[in-house]
Amino acid sequence: MSLIKEKFNQISPSEFFYSNRDLAGFSNPTRSLYTAVREFVENALDACDQKGILPDVHLIIKSVDPEKSDPKPYILTVKDNGPGIDPEHIPLAFGTVLYGSKFGLKQARGMFGLGATMAILYGQITTNKPVTVKSSVDGQTQDEFELLLDIQKNKPIIVKHNTKEVSKKGLSVSICLEGDYSKAGNKIRDYVYETSLITPYASITFDDPKGEKFSHPRFVKDIPPPPTIIRPHPHGIDVERIRRMIVESQFEIPNIDDAMIEKVRKDLGLSVKNLSFTVIMEKAKKKWKTLSRQVRVVIALMSFLKMDFEKLNKIKIEEIDMPNKKLFYWDFGDSQSKSIDMDPESPYFKQLTNTVQGEHMTTFLTKRFQRIGPTTALKFAEFAGFKPEKRMGTMTNQELVNLSDSLQKFEDFLAPDPSCLAPLGEEPLEKGIKKFFNPDFAAVVQRPASAYSGFPFIVEMGIAYGGDIKTGGPHVYRYANRIPLLYDEGSDVVLKVVNDTDWGRYKIKGEPPFIIVSHICSTRIPYKTAGKENVADRPEIERELRLGLQYLSRKLASYMSKRGQADMAKKRANLYAKYIPLIATFATELAGKKKEPNYKKILEIENVDESQKIVEEKNEVENK
């Protein structure tokens, strides 16, 4: 007998993240301060976006003891003018890990609202101070909570709760955490700066611990249309996902009890007494279109059983065997199992089939996926080798695998519906680039929506040259779902695409002053790590980035060649300005004149006829 007792502990999500906090970007005081800022600012922007509110976000970082040296405790506060959170949800939302509202299929900055709780958790671990949440949903009353997390139980502990009157809606979250602003300061300022470029409709202010104020007022008045939640795209759906969808699509045979019978009677609009089977069936035929699915199933069963409500009350449906057209039921009166044959010609037979075996494949496809109409569904069924009327409930495992494979391979599906995405748009992006860099040249492009593994995405890119831009480019500004990505750029797909480009081909040489902005929008960004700083190189995304960059590079090249021509013309003009006066001086003395000739007219002629120049050059070659 073994003397060793193995002990299995189920750990709470809070505990899990506590011991694995570096996964979420809380590895050290520098990185943690930066990540906490990101999580709260992004939550604030997301909340405003969802309600179509032009965001005003105020970020404040204060050191608890300014005399102390880093790393040390800081108070981080983020205020917004968003919709706020209902007071009853606040303790759970801020005091539980994995509680959130961001689980649907649409684009948002954060996923699952995980990061904010992690920041709170990190603050609590390092300073043992509660989080303060102030929220007003109506612009009149504000609820203020002080919360601690019970890490073992993954439950909030309310330290304090009070209310007071206010005049503004919005949410304010304040935590105390160990951080290192002297090291994280640069990144945080960059983050705020770059965020305001990709969120031109937001006003963001930042009060830093040294008393400096960074203000980025909004310069675009229109908020981009908010994304909607949508059905999945057939490309890249997996077997497990299909299985779950089929389960969702099937209806169970309702439990026929008194309440159910009462409901059917009421829905048919019948009185309590003298209800013959015939009367019930006739009434059902008339009202069929208005009936609910449950009621229809009950009626169908009654039609085969040929029973009224009274008799129905005394049996229990055991099994419906559609392939053998048999209906098994338990008779309480006789205390035995009975069966009847069902007439497949009856219209009610089809109703039961639907319920038991699930929808036809074509119905399933058109109803549960985006971008599939009846025609496409038929085409697909043929492609995949299924009958269009194949019942989804009768799929074997192998058939499910085949279906999943075929969904990937079928090429006639339209591209995913990008309505769940919220790209910034070409105009605001260009406006932002021009405002931030004051460039000599700027161009932007929004690629058409595409998909990787069934997740739609859109790539937006911008390029700018000259003006206030520092030399040593390209400087790359990476964004994903309107979040600037500042760390780990070495392994990022955007950097890969930029570095693969031979800029010499686009007439860009030396240490050019130019920037590239890339924005990837997707319902799910394929980050390489939970720290959300670098995007993995999915071939579909890489391709879109490449095409976008090529388009912009060509535009830049044509600008560069025009600029080159202008530079040449300027150079030539300088040459004329240098030499023509000398020629004039020498000619004056040679010719024995007193006054110099009026050569100004020549210098004004800037555009020397190119064709003439070529002819003259030819002569010169001959001369040599």
Binding site: K571, R572, L575, Y576, Y579, I580, L582, I583, A584, T585, F586, A587, T588, E589, L590, A591, G592, K593, P597, N598, Y599, K601, I602, V608, Q612, K613, E616, E617, N619, E620, E622, N623, K624
Partner: protein
């Protein structure tokens, strides 16, 4: 001091008139070029001028003139063409500079020109660039640079009974007899521009080497053969060729050339006679009647001279010259063929084998006699 006769006085007058006229011609030509450029500028046009092409394809041998000349191809150099603007300006400056030199009767070396440019914010990469522009000016004006008072470094000299009269500032009217100093007189700007007054000599002997020149003076070749001796110092410089031409044309003296017995010596004589391809744009540098009297290839055998093996480049040079139309016939072709057959060469000093004075006492008289029949 002996009083000059009236005849002499009028001669002097005539000579100075001639010199003035030449200077005036140069200045007028420069002025007319300058005026054209000036007018273009005044009229709002980019000034330009045409310049004879000096590319190889445009250098042709003129049998009538018996020298290389430039063909009819020419290129336009325009100040409108930004890639020509710099050289255009350089050339304008040079014309301007030459104009000042001519007016002030000052002379300048090629190197002086290179440095002088810097005072006028005209840059030349190096002297070869400025030398090139000087050749451009020669080509445009068809005048040698000496006419613009621009001279190369001196290395050749002259000795003999020749009276000259200086024309350069500070020496105008001064005369000199060129047999007064036994080391000879270097052929520089003052001598090249001097008037040739009179001479008792009946022939000009141009000799390739300084060593032989000294020997000729020592042995009084000038007196014994009534000659003017000129040391060309290898390939004769332009100023020396100009002087040779003037001695031939103005003093009616025949010119003979004595060189080493090799292919280079033969070509030194040829350049004096009919010019070089490099100076194809100029026409007043040749003495078509000059005669090469030795050392010939046939002399090597005839006089049993000690010889040196020809190098590969010597032989290559022979083959190159065979393609030159001037070497197609006569003594030029004959001697070249013998050189190629012998593959050996002999220097002028080789005659020392038979005694130091052998060349002046034996060889020279024979050759002078022979020259009459050439």
């Amino acid at each position: 001091m002996k009083l000059k006769t009236n005849k002499e006085k009028s001669k002097i007058k005539e000579r100075s008139k001639k010199a003035d006229e030449k200077q005036r011609n140069i200045l007028e030509m420069l002025q007319s070029h300058g005026a054209k450029i000036y007018d273009d500028l005044e009229n709002g046009q980019f000034p330009k001028f045409s310049i004879p092409s000096r590319s190889v394809s445009n250098i042709v041998y003129d049998k009538k003139l018996r020298q290389y000349i430039l063909g009819s191809n020419s290129a336009v150099r325009s100040s409108r063409n930004s890639s020509q603007l710099r050289s255009f300006t350089q050339l304008m400056w040079l014309a301007f500079f030459a104009n000042r030199l001519t007016q002030e009767k000052k002379s300048s070396t090629l190197r002086d020109v290179y440095y002088s440019s810097q005072a006028f914010a005209i840059e030349f990469e190096d002297q070869s660039e400025s030398d090139n522009i000087i050749v451009d000016l020669e080509a445009v004006t068809s005048k040698p640079r000496e006419d613009f008072h621009i001279f190369p470094e001196e290395r050749s000299s002259i000795f003999g009974d020749l009276n000259i009269e200086y024309t350069i500032p500070g020496y105008e009217g001064k005369t000199m007899n060129l047999s007064n100093h036994p080391d000879g007189y270097s052929i520089g700007p003052s001598l090249t521009t001097a008037e040739l007054v009179d001479t008792s000599a009946e022939i000009v002997i141009a000799i390739e080497k300084g060593g032989l020149f000294t020997r000729f003076v020592e042995e009084q070749v000038d007196k014994n053969f009534k000659s003017i001796i000129i040391n060309t110092g290898g390939q004769a410089p332009r100023s020396t060729r100009t002087l040779l031409k003037r001695l031939h044309d103005e003093m009616k003296l025949p010119v003979i050339v004595l060189t080493d017995g090799d292919v280079y010596g033969e070509h030194i004589a040829m350049v004096i006679k009919s010019g070089s391809a490099n100076a194809a744009h100029l026409r007043e540098l040749t003495v078509p009647d000059a005669k090469w009297v030795g050392v010939w290839a046939t002399d090597i055998e005839k006089y049993k001279l000690p010889t040196i093996q020809m190098t590969e480049s010597d032989i290559k040079r022979c083959y190159d010259l065979q393609k030159d139309p001037r070497y197609e016939d006569g003594i030029w072709k004959k001697e070249l063929d013998v050189f190629l057959r012998l593959k050996r060469k002999a220097e002028l000093e080789a005659f020392s084998k038979y005694g130091l004075t052998n060349i002046t006492e034996k060889y020279l008289p024979q050759k002078l006699e022979l020259a009459k029949s050439l």
